[in-house]
Amino acid sequence: MGGFELISGLAVGLAFGYALQRGRFCVNTGFRDILMVKDSTMFRAWALAVIVQMAGVTVLSGLDLMPITVPPFWWAANIAGGLMFGVGMVLAGGCSSGTCYRVGEGMAGSLLALIGFGLGILLADRGALQPLQDVLRSDIVFVGGEQATLANVIDINPMWVGLAIPLAVGVWLWRGGAGNRQSASGGWAWHISGFALGAIGIAAWLSSSSVGREFGLSMTGPIRTWFVLALSGENYLDWGSVMIAGLIVGSFVAAWAHQELRWRVPRGSRMLQAGGGGIVMGVGAQIAGGCNIGHSMTGMSVLSLGSVVTTIGILLGAWVMAYILFIRPMAAQSA
């Protein structure tokens, strides 16, 4: 592994973990709270992060300054994997990036979820569920010989789409007003974490591509490389692997610097729930080819249709699970 790969991966990972922790950024919370408590604050942070990255990546790749890879549109895998991931992340109490940064803060439940996540990935990638992954991934829809994107499916130059969407969503966010800018716990407001994460995503694309890994931030693949190394000795560590390690350290540093570091252990049944949720998340993410970061941030930034479909799947899976687990019991109790 070269020096630049190591240093840039660590730098981006540290910043990513730090920003996640300060922003308390969690797509699970973001998607779920829209339904559960009609709160869209975290969702806005995610949307802002996506459009900032989308605009930056569109410009860089449009000017031919940076190569990009578009996640494939394995429609069956995207849908099934996305749904599974959504269900799993509600059970685990956090999406994949949320789980990782919480490990850095000292949450034991998230540590178990992370272990489950890695095992779930291996289960689908090379374990008993590999045939399922192969079947679901067997049909890829291409558009004109290329990976399907929001732009080529309607035959428009990606520069237009990649800048129009940020503009439209940006206007929507702006008109939504300041919203809940204050954080009772002293964290970053949603617009700060949205911008920061978007910028970090762009830096990730640039430094990762320049060492041959032509992609941006992602969680599933990097976590897989560590678990594969630990369980079978095969070394596929690369920029992404370094970035993930940096993430956990960055979150640790952020928590420690703000006195939010604390070993938190939930009761036993919750630990099991987190671990089980982690496994389901891992299977879903591996089958879909990405998770809430790989698809719902990085893949969306290159307009991948597969990523859009996966993200919708994650949203629906999360809503169904949140309804079953929390919303319906709460409604029954209030009645």
Binding site: V37, G93, M107, S110, S185, E260
Partner: protein, 77 residues
């Protein structure tokens, strides 16, 4: 001193929010509850929910690093 106490320390997301919501909605209007929280996101979430649902945030007491006592008063319907 709050009328009731709910200890949500150590809980994974979203149980602090879910349990707090349940507990506050069960309160007599105008009575208070003290929720013990040790996770920053949970503090944000519960506070935001309480404010948007019309309940009063009486105080947020620091109990130590990453530990708070959030006192809410159930709204008078």
């Amino acid at each position: 001193m709050a009328d009731t106490q709910l200890d949500m320390r150590g809980e994974i997301c979203p149980y602090p929010l879910v349990e707090s919501k349940k507990a506050v909605e069960k309160l007599e209007p105008g009575t208070t509850i003290e929720v013990l929280i040790d996770y920053p996101l949970a503090l944000d979430n519960v506070t935001r929910w309480a404010q948007s649902a019309g309940h009063e945030v009486v105080e947020t007491r620091d109990l130590g690093p990453s530990e708070w006592a959030l006192v809410l008063r159930s709204k008078k319907t």
